[in-house]
Symmetry: C2
Subunit: 401 residues, 2 copies
Amino acid sequence: MPGALDGIRVLDFSRVFAAPAGTQILGDLGADVVKVEEPRKGDEARYYGMTEQALRAPGAASPPFLALNRNKRSIALDLGCPAGREVAFRLSAGSDVLVHNFRPGAMARWGLGYDAIRAANRRVIYCEFFAYGKEGPLAQVGANDLALQAHSGLMSITGEPGRPPVRCGTAAIDLHAGLAMVAAVLAALYHRERTGEGQAVETSLLLGSAHLMNYFYTEYWLDGTVRKPMGTANHLSVPNQVFPASDGGVVIIAPSDEMWRRCAAALAPARLDRPEFRRSLDRLRLRAELIEALGAVTRTMSCGELVKRLSAARVNVAKVNSIGEAADHGQLAEAGGLVEIGVDGRPLKAVSSPFKLGGTPARVDRPPPRLGAHTEEILLQRGFGGDEVSAFREQGAFGKA
Amino acid sequence: MPGALDGIRVLDFSRVFAAPAGTQILGDLGADVVKVEEPRKGDEARYYGMTEQALRAPGAASPPFLALNRNKRSIALDLGCPAGREVAFRLSAGSDVLVHNFRPGAMARWGLGYDAIRAANRRVIYCEFFAYGKEGPLAQVGANDLALQAHSGLMSITGEPGRPPVRCGTAAIDLHAGLAMVAAVLAALYHRERTGEGQAVETSLLLGSAHLMNYFYTEYWLDGTVRKPMGTANHLSVPNQVFPASDGGVVIIAPSDEMWRRCAAALAPARLDRPEFRRSLDRLRLRAELIEALGAVTRTMSCGELVKRLSAARVNVAKVNSIGEAADHGQLAEAGGLVEIGVDGRPLKAVSSPFKLGGTPARVDRPPPRLGAHTEEILLQRGFGGDEVSAFREQGAFGKA
């Protein structure tokens, strides 16, 4: 079956987590993604969280790099030298989509800004991925996921009540902003298909973080409410948090009055189906009392028993899993959430793009690339002559010999 | 300027947070989004986190509902009655995109499954949004954001070391999966524009959560590592966490050796630029020592001073903001992250979609709708006769009188 983005050429100057996560999705959709890397060093995510031992292995690459760079080929280009920039320009002019996450202004200084590329290729979709956006007081400040967890207020609502803030354990802002980039590129491709017009599109960790925080900001703008950390609980409804089981923990969420009634009935009607708990507003008011009553019941049952009883009663319930339990849970494979990539000739499981397209399924054509592994192949495919490639090599375009 | 999705009709049966967050983005892009709601009750997110007083206000709607439902019109349809289902079918047949987040099988039982709609409209993009997917052991288990925070292992890596897990403070999985839905719909629209073919697409909280966790799962599959909570810190590099300032906290992230060198030089070279800290692997090994040394320096400076010094040295740094500080920070407005919606005739700020399209900018045409406010208007526009509407009304299609 065809891929939705078959034939689309993506030139990807981006590094680290967020934008590479986005271009991987474009690759899953069928696009031909060329990853531009700094000679010798490459995407610094190759080294994140690596041990000394792991780094010594041939073709060493960190788990995050492996997780976010399948379906890409790698070309090593030195943008610090004129020959490298010339190659980059010619590749850009022949691409459908260009992605970068350098600081505002860097690409223009290298002669690779939107105006220059558009002059050579009117149909290009030029996608910039910033930390805080192109303009404004923070535009030139560097940032990563954690910085935006702090800046956005996400950290201020994550943690135990009365204790210090903590981070959301995964790089949620990076990955969300990377997915936003995918949506922006796809919307622009759709528009181009209807009109013939390319355009510049933009996202940032800031916009991604604000989107994740949107209902907290709306509440603040509406009435000044500033939320604080609530452990596993939630200001929206009660019960909506972790409860203790005899062998672990489960979350139980019953926001509507009907669902709460079913929850009480499924676990211990005599102790839980009390008139004062029947209305959602009363459950919010009697939060401490309800949590104590429900916890006293749940701690007498196992996780398995709680999940069985509550899911049968159509009450939202889930076990608190470890990373390993979650990764290996059979549901992920059943839901099509796994793909297989090859790393050094051995198969390795990886997580799919976060959707399934019935008519144009995702595919994995290539494992995460070694740094610069496809430099020559890409250039010859894109119309560079063999002599030209040699000349550029001598001029240092692919790094000093 | 045109919108990328001008002329696209979206019929949106979805409720609560995740899928409505996605259809709002489609609306921002220019699509005509019709929100189908249960008569009298409506989307239950209308009531989440509301106080008794707020609920008494006319047209009351919760902050999350206001945050996630602009650019939509609301039609009240009773899918429990044949007349309501007939109206739903006719609207579906005339739509470009259909979205629902009912449990697997529910739409088919109402005669609104993919096969039925596709028979009437070969070009339809039929988007299903599930909790855990269509098949598998958990397919019929209800879930929400918190359930997937627990199931996915996100909760198991969020919190202070040695203390109980906590939630990520915002509904990151809901919002991420909602954005995944947008990407899936846009990819399908693009494919349809190239081929004329519609298709069924699917996402789920499970796929969204797994995508957010992807590098943790990859690491586990690679070598069995099961990560645990680390407060604000991170296993990927050191320093990469909150440090105390004299008047609050800042995050400092310096993963590369060059950035760490600049960090040390900008704050206290004599105390920090020590040979044993110069290599990233050594900083990981000497985590406790480095954190103590850096913290001893940062606590003598204010947040403002730290941000100023470190950002000038191109070191990733950010203040730990409260919700209010984040929402009102001037950078968000400068970056185009704010839109204005009208609520009961008063303007209210809201968060933009998480990207900007230069050639086809987002727009806000409509405030979040009152329940069923556009029932008649929509039907007349979509070719229903006035008499037909009256007949459907008598048959209870829009709720019992």
